[in-house]
Amino acid sequence: MSVSETSATPPAPRRWQGVPSVPGWAFWVVLLGVTWAASHYAMDIYKALDARWIIRFPAAWQPDFEGRISAGMKWLLEEAELFGILFRDVTRAIARLIEIPYDLAVDLLVTGVLQGQGQQAQQVLPPLSWIAVTYIFCALGHYAKGWRLAALMGACFLYLAVFGQWASAMLTLASVLIAVPLAAVGGLLLGILAFRVPMAERILRPVLDLMQTVPIFAYLVPILFMFGFGPVAALAATVIYAMPPMIRVTIVALRGVPEELGELGVMVGATSGQQMWKVLVPAARPTLMVGLNQVIMLTLNMVIIASMIGAGGLGYDVLTALRRLDIGGGVEAGLAIVVLAIALDRLSQAFSARTVTLRASQSRGGWAMRHRWLLSSLAVVLVTALIGLALPWVQTYPKAAVISTGQIWADAIGYINVNYFDTLDAIKTVLLTWVLLPVRQFFTGIPWPWGLAAITLIGARVGGWRLAALVFALTGLVVLTGLWTKAMMTVYLCGVSVVIASIIGIPIGILAARNEMSNRVVGVFIDTLQTLPSFVYLIPVVMLFRVGDFSAMIAIVAYALAPAVRYAAHGIRSVDPQIVEAGIVSGCTPWQMLRRIKLPIIAPELLLGLNQTVMLALSMLVITALVGTRDLGQEVYIALTKANVGQGIVAGLAVAFIAIIADRLLEAAARRMRNRAGGA
């Protein structure tokens, strides 16, 4: 410590760069030029050389990844056994484990306890009445924060009842209620394992990295294969999808506990179990609660998407509405999802931010006073159940009082389409002809040998030979699967969307950072955008622009906007105020300040935001397959409908590879930029 302080730190060794002697701009210009030429003249080259393999990777060279994976899965399911236990029995056991609590939750919230089968079923006990559920959430809201949150909860659940979405919403809620504890506890335990056992972390980390980049649909395929079509498969997929962030947050949270607290545990003689559960986990609680919030939101997102494999609920309503082009129904169900998402988000956020003073004030008073919300909730449940036997409207919100907005929405969209069709169509046509189609032509035209070479060169340029090797290997695998053209289609759609999202998002972010007021307004807007399950974005887009690349692009931009805004705002806000003051003293105009001082400083931050935008765009891409794109997302979607495991996994991994390549390249570029700026 003291020894190294005296000696000056040696200059960092220059990284090996693939093309060291070429100046920066020349490298990129030449690369772009050659790529454009290769793309444009690919046909001519192929004809001149009579080498069709240049533009189409020959099927004979492709190893049969799909078939082998499918066969492997089949073997796993039918023959594989471990210690004499069939794998099939294991999946069945897991299914039972999920099914029992799920059935209970559904009984409680939707159907009530039934006796008998099918049509002859008799309701023995009614489900919780709509009044009781609403009251319980109000009580939770008050307990977590106060009257305002209680009011918000009440408003949200009343909305669901009044606008006729109650049954579907409760089905979705039941799934969330089961999946969240499973994912949270599982994530916590795995996180603890990784924290304690370095080996476990080394195994988990790459798995987590991969899971973060594999598109959601790709999970669905093997799970569908293992568990069959139905709510159990949907729940299994949901739990798997929502767990990784919890694992990550747990590791970070435990590492973030001040070292002194760990030492305290040792000094008072805590056993390793006491150390974990009495010191570390409670001390890490605030961060862990943030993870729980993420788990809840991801669960909701996935429960909606998993309606495709039989989860039912609001997601199913949206899906059927989309398929029937039932505008009103789609918007209604979509809004219900939004309302549910906002309610769950605010509630879990309030729980994670619950202050000590609040807790102290709640722990005062006698037993009945301290438990007044629990007691009153129980009372409301009992009373409404009893009264509900006599007055059905107490038990179930009366159909007659349901307000349907479906027609209003259908009319509104109809009105827009009738009156503004020309404008909308013109916008669409202009963007299609001048942006989307040329870019698509450029990307899909690139012959794979040059594409492989170009991406490797880029890798070498920004990150050295290790990165180049990684990028080469991943791209090579994509080529080998024969999905090159579809991959390029993915890159094109994702690329265009990311660029547009950045063009819109970065200025908004810069604006948001200007003052507190704009920050709050933009903050609420962005938070809401991020809370919404990705499915919801499709609804208005399809209504206005129908299916196709353009609709997909709009939906992706809307979904991927948030990180661009957030990172730009955060970057601007974290610029050292002294540098800003130095700028003011030098007489910079606000514009000069932005362009000459702030933007160059926050450039690495912007790249990281771009990285997040790319990740979100890729995950959304697969969902937009529903509106008829022809990229890898479509491939996964087809695999899902055909339950073709091999195809699904291969296409899913291809998307994951693209994500990994983009992630590593952008990260390396950001690092390079930071080093150049002189930061450590």
Binding site: E260, E263, V266, M267, T271
Partner: protein, 343 residues
């Protein structure tokens, strides 16, 4: 009579780097600073030898990076030293297993941390009772014990507060209460007042001295503040670059620093703060009027006013009550104005 030794370390080493035990073995257990540097190792604690006696306040003083924090963590076995012996109450506890250490820590050691290390989700009472909870003491008993120590540190009435509702000084009082709850024999304080602002720090030092006058614990106190060290210490160990440069009473440290490094610290210390009557008295009983009597261990600062105000000499008695010397106004004034002849 020397008091018995409670904790002793002999040739203690803690080296960071690649395979420290092998490195130490290769260099005969005593590598030089050069050897360390060449191997890219960091010698956080190098060949430390200290004896901590029952009931004394032993201060380890050093600047940041000097290894004092590592040393105290080696002494409490929070960190396992790479070589040497660590003798607690006559037993070498260095090879003890975690399970054996558990028992010693639960019953015989307490520690106060620089940043308090309070558990944010527990109240003051629960924090203070925490070490007892870990031992499985029933709730009623541990809370009664915790209430006692909370009263001792002057926080009575705040038992139900959470740490975030307290000021820094109050938080550290909770930390002190917690470390005292198990009635430890050996009390580690790792820069307990460094995170507090100067006024509060002063107040907490007084509080600490008041507690120690009552409890008479054996204390290992870490600080980077030399003023704090001479104010509190019976003996001080000065550390630099992982080595203990000198171990001495505050007075000896000021009067005869072992090297320039120590001298640099002591140069601006007002002598009146460290010098005792024993160091400045003239031998023999005073001739003529005697204004009063003092003890050899009285520090100049504490008694200067009395001596100045009186006209006559003061006789000085040693701990056994014999008169061993005398002190007059002139010597005291020399010291107070910094005339060098005094010491």
């Amino acid at each position: 009579m020397e008091r018995p030794v409670l904790l002793e370390c002999r040739n203690l080493w803690k080296v960071y780097g690649h395979r420290p035990d092998q490195f130490l073995k290769e260099h005969g257990g005593n590598p030089s600073g050069d050897a360390l540097r060449r191997a890219g190792m960091i010698g956080a604690v190098r060949d430390a030898n200290v004896k901590i006696r029952q009931g004394e306040i032993f201060v380890i003083m050093g600047l940041s990076g000097s290894g004092k924090s590592t040393l105290v963590r080696c002494l409490s076995r929070l960190i396992r030293p790479d070589a040497g012996e660590l003798i607690f109450d006559g037993q070498n506890i260095l090879p003890y297993t975690d399970k054996q250490m558990l028992d010693i820590r639960r019953r015989r050691m307490g520690m106060v941390f620089q940043h308090f290390a309070l558990l944010p989700h527990l109240t003051v009472l629960e924090n203070a009772a925490f070490p007892l909870e870990i031992q499985g003491v029933p709730r009623a008993k541990r809370e009664a014990q915790a209430r006692e120590v909370i009263e001792l540190v002057g926080l009575k009435g705040r038992e139900d507060y959470y740490p975030s509702q307290l000021s820094g000084g109050q938080q550290q009082r909770v930390g002190i209460a917690r470390s005292l709850a198990v009635e430890p024999d050996l009390w580690f304080l790792d820069e307990p007042f460094s995170a507090l602002d100067p006024l509060i720090r002063r107040e907490m030092q007084d509080e600490f001295m008041r507690l120690q006058a009552m409890l008479k614990k054996t204390i290992v106190f870490i600080t980077h503040d030399f003023d704090e060290a001479i104010r509190l210490a019976d003996r001080i160990a000065v550390m630099r670059d992982g080595r203990i440069v000198q171990v001495a009473t505050p007075q000896d440290l000021v009067l005869s620093p072992a090297d320039d490094y120590v001298a640099e610290f002591t140069r601006y210390v007002p002598k009146s703060k460290v010098l005792t009557m024993g160091a400045i008295m003239a031998p023999g009983a005073a001739a003529g009027d005697v204004a009063g009597e003092l003890i050899v261990t009285d520090r100049v600062e504490a008694v200067a006013d009395r001596i100045e105000r009186a006209d006559g000499m003061f006789n000085i008695r040693d701990e056994e009550g014999r008169i061993v010397g005398h002190v007059g106004r002139a010597v005291i004034i020399d010291i107070l104005v910094g005339r060098s002849s005094a010491a």
